[in-house]
């Protein structure tokens, strides 16, 4: 026997005889099913992407970011839970990066401590602290920490908590949360900038606001002193749509229509975020850029 035969314990397969017309037996098709329709029952989950960049003009990044996303399915599974936070720090001598980092960590810690693990407790579930109060306290605690630990430093902070079908947002400053669905973008947070206030009151047009010399002046930010006023609100999750959280390094440079185009152009959320960041840098990148993009599957039919 050849070496191979000893190794494999059998001979080569016979060469097929080209004259052999036999085919294998197959089961006959069910006459009642003329075509086979594939069953598509794929459960889709909430997904996210994120990207950051120092920008073109700055030499370090004072933005901070936190993302936590939980998906579970099964009988009586806990609902989707998520926490997405973006913060844009300011103040000289690197106070900005400390202020934004401390704030994001404080908020992330408070919110996850009081909600995440409790989601698993049958009885505790119904006794989660009210989200509005929790978010407000978390941002207030971040404020106290920054005032104490980073004098002269400040930061914006926009946090979105996803719980089941509701999105609750705690917000201070001029980072933004956008709702992107049905081919439109809508800013759902309020910029706490002087210029935005004037625009709201009809004293400035949106174009005047965009080029106003004081457009970066904020009247509310974390770290400015006691008595922080936090915007907290809840709205239903945009089924089939997206939520974008970003610092002004992004929205200040990339127009809403461009944001919409980029998000709609790909199903790859990570790619979309990187593209958004690239667009902001291409426009000059005067500031740090942060983007977090969350996608919500359409409702099950």
């Amino acid at each position: 026997m050849s070496f191979l035969q000893r190794l494999f314990g059998r001979g080569k397969t016979e060469d097929l005889d080209p004259q052999d017309q036999r085919t294998a037996d197959t089961a006959p098709l069910d006459p009642d099913r003329s075509e086979i329709t594939p069953v598509e029952d794929i459960r889709r989950h909430v997904l996210f992407g994120s990207a950051q960049s120092v920008g073109v003009e700055r030499d370090h990044n004072e933005d901070a970011l936190f993302v936590l996303l939980l998906n579970a399915s099964g009988f009586d599974a806990i609902p989707d839970f998520g926490l997405f936070v973006v913060a844009d720090g300011m103040g000289g001598h690197r106070s900005g990066e400390r202020a934004s980092a401390i704030s994001v960590q404080t908020v992330a810690r408070r919110v996850t401590q009081e909600t995440l693990l409790r989601l698993f407790e049958e009885d505790d579930r119904a006794n989660l602290p009210a989200l509005h109060e929790l978010l407000r306290e978390a941002l207030e605690e971040a404020n106290r920490s920054v005032v104490e630990l980073v004098p002269g430093g400040g930061t914006t902070l926009t946090a979105a908590v996803l719980l089941g079908e509701q999105l609750t947002i705690g917000h201070v400053g001029d980072s933004r949360a956008y709702l992107v669905q049905n081919g439109t973008t809508e800013v759902i947070t309020r910029d706490h900038s002087l210029v935005e206030r004037l625009r709201e009151l009809g004293q400035l047009t949106p174009d005047e606001a965009a080029t106003h010399p004081q457009r970066n002046v904020l009247y509310r930010a974390i770290g400015q002193g006691d008595n922080l006023e936090v915007d907290v609100f809840t709205q239903p999750v945009p089924r089939g749509g997206h939520v974008l959280l970003c610092s002004d390094g992004l929205w200040g440079e990339v127009a809403d229509e461009e944001i919409l185009r980029i998000i709609s152009s790909t199903t790859d959320l990570q790619q979309a975020c990187e593209e958004l960041v690239r667009a902001a840098n291409a426009a000059g990148g005067p500031d740090n850029i942060t983007a977090v993009l969350v996608q919500f599957p359409p409702p099950a039919t």
Binding site: A126, A130, G164, E165, L194, L218, A221, F233, P236
Partner: protein, 624 residues
């Protein structure tokens, strides 16, 4: 661009150094010390040496001209001169007298009357308590007088442009003195300059460079708001006074005075007092407390109806505690005399009644031509809605005080036997039931194959159509209020003084609002707002999105009724015996109709007619 984290800076210290004590200007004015620093230089306490035998004190206001460009320099000098000229011509007890004006090097100096006293900002700093309302109103009236004087100046009105606490001094006689005319300008209508004036107190139009006498009135309102609430408007978003109602922060302020100040703070100048006389008169009226202040926002729609009459009334034999139902021209109402009455909706004519064996607290429900009545005799009755003929009865094991819900061929209702019963409407037989921790007295909410209801122990349940409990929430006291579901959020009240907002899928508490007392009313939802009543006597309007109160309306006793909304009005009864009609946007009363006794049930609207019952035994119908 480096970002500033604070609103526009107020003062910046002069960099040229202040005059030291001992320096003499013009061989006449001896500088004794610094009184304060302003945007353009310091104000010094000085002594006029031309009066050697006495200490004649003066205030010396320094204005440093930092412009290097000759044209600019010239313009700045002219601006200083203008202030001096202006002050020289103004003669009023509240305006400091000016004695002299001169220029020296890069600076100009105004020599003025020295005022012994403190400015209002210092007075606020000097105490932690709220200032007395009467005192603030007295100052306000004096400020109106000086503004009246300035605005009435001939040939052109003078606009102060910088009204704020630090520019008002209280002298040793307790009278106000307006100081710092640095930016006061003779008013030229149509002229626009750059924004000037202090952020927080300045009106919106001043940001566009339009400074007019109306702006001074806004700034006065802002100043009074600050004085009464101790909340500095510079620390708040601009023009957001409406978000900080005075009485919410300082309940010691009378509603009349709050109303006057609110009138000055409208951000459209057309909506403010048109002159300081108007503002002053309003203050005086409020001060004398001679009656309520008229609302400046009265429009035709809000004109109160003086005579409101019922279309018809019908008297039953006992209290009507619940809510009527309307179907095809007929009104159905349960009464504590054990009967359910059927009346003609147009004229209240009695059609028929059906006797049960217990009181009827629940609202009758009509579905598919069948009338369902829940009675305290433990039975649910199914009658023909047309004629009141009995179809079947269902027995629970305790009194029924819960209004049923008819959905998809089944009727859902709770009982004092601690169960939620689900009965097949075709057969009258129970399909299934679920046990709760205590009596169920609310109307269960059935939506998307889930049933939501609370019970008297404070537990709230979400149950599926097989009777399985999906989740459970616990309030601290009974939940007698029925839940409503809007955009996947559940809202209901509890006797623990709270209105809860839960995420419907898992029962997570998203927010809650603390009322002034227990509530059993079922909330109503309209255009983003939730409305409910409480035993604290108030009807509340809350923003559902951010859980903030929009308004509240006070009645004279508990509000147990659930509010009903029709067009732009909200209707609610009160235990004070009246049915109130409020404007839904503002919460202002349009009219009220008084019955003989407490109203504990709610109203129902059909074809623009409002129907409700009272414990005075009557059913009323009114035009909306």
């Amino acid at each position: 661009m480096r970002r500033q984290t604070r609103a526009l800076n107020t003062e910046e210290t002069s960099e040229f150094g202040q005059l030291q004590p001992g320096v003499t200007l013009q061989d006449r004015y001896l500088i004794l010390g610094v009184l304060g620093t302003g945007g353009m230089g310091s104000v010094y306490k000085g002594r006029d040496l031309h009066f050697p035998n006495v200490t004649k004190l003066v205030a010396v206001k320094e204005m440093i001209n930092m412009a290097t460009d000759p044209t600019m320099h010239e313009m700045v000098v002219r601006n200083f001169e203008r202030e001096a000229d202006l002050l020289a011509t103004l003669s009023h007890p509240s305006i400091p007298r000016i004695y002299d004006y001169f220029t020296h090097d890069r600076s100009s100096y105004l020599v003025m009357e020295f005022i012994e006293g403190r400015d209002l900002e210092a007075i606020l700093r000097g105490s932690d308590d709220f200032l007395a309302e009467e005192q603030v109103v007295a100052w306000a009236i004096e400020l109106c007088d000086v503004l009246h004087f300035l605005h009435g100046h001939k040939p052109q009105p003078v606009v102060f442009r910088d009204m704020k606490p630090s520019n008002v001094m209280i002298d040793q006689h307790g009278h106000i003195r307006l100081i710092d005319f640095g930016i006061a300008r003779v008013f030229q209508p149509g002229e626009k300059g750059t924004m000037i004036g202090t952020e927080g107190y300045s009106p919106p139009e001043q940001y566009r460079g339009e400074a007019s006498p109306a702006g001074d009135l806004y700034a006065l309102g802002a100043t009074l708001h600050h004085l009464l609430t101790r909340r500095d408007p510079r620390s708040e978003p601009p023009f957001s006074f409406a978000e900080r109602p005075i009485r919410e922060i300082n309940p010691g302020v009378s509603p009349e005075v709050e109303g006057v100040i609110d009138g000055a703070l409208a951000y459209d100048p057309k909506d403010r007092y048109q002159n300081s006389e108007g503002f002053k008169n309003a203050l005086m009226v409020a001060a004398k407390k001679t009656g309520l202040l008229n609302s400046r926002q009265t429009s035709a729609a809000l004109q109160p109806r003086n005579e409101v009459e019922a279309l018809w009334q019908f008297e039953c034999e006992d209290e009507i505690r619940g809510t009527p139902a309307v179907w095809e021209g007929k009104v159905y109402v349960g009464c504590y005399d054990n009967n359910v009455y059927c009346l003609d909706a147009d004229d209240g004519e009695f059609l028929w009644k059906y006797a049960t064996e217990g009181g009827i607290a629940a609202t009758p429900v009509i579905d598919d031509g069948v009338l369902y009545v829940a009675s305290e005799d433990h039975r649910l009755y199914a009658l023909t809605a047309e004629g009141g003929r009995l179809l079947w009865t269902y027995y629970a094991e305790g009194p029924l005080r819960s209004t049923p819900s008819a959905v998809e061929g089944h009727i859902f209702f709770g009982s004092d036997d601690n169960h939620l019963h689900v009965v097949n409407t075709a057969t009258g037989r129970r399909a299934w039931r679920v046990e709760a921790a205590d009596a169920i007295r609310c109307q269960p909410l059935v939506a998307e194959e889930r049933v939501y209801f609370g019970c008297e122990s404070g537990d709230f349940y979400c149950v599926d159509f097989r009777g399985e409990i999906k989740w459970r929430f616990r309030a601290k006291r009974a939940i007698t209020s029925s839940p409503i579901l809007v955009d996947k959020m559940l809202y209901f009240g509890s006797m623990d003084w709270t209105l809860y907002a839960l995420e419907a899928e898992g029962g997570w508490q998203v927010w809650r609002f603390r009322l002034g007392g227990p509530t059993i009313a079922t909330p109503a939802f309209h255009e983003g707002r939730l409305f409910t009543g409480s035993a604290d006597g108030n009807i509340y309007a809350l923003e559902a999105r951010n859980s903030r109160e929009a308004w509240r309306f006070e009645t004279e006793h508990q509000v147990n009724s659930s509010p009903v909304i029709h067009e732009d009005s909200l209707y609610s009864g009160s235990v004070d015996g009246s049915l109130y009609c409020l404007d839904i946007r503002s919460g202002r009363k349009r009219w009220k109709f008084t019955t003989g006794n407490a109203i504990t049930g709610s109203a129902v609207v059909s074809q623009n007619i409002l129907y409700f019952g009272s414990t005075d035994h009557r059913v009323y119908a009114m035009l909306t």
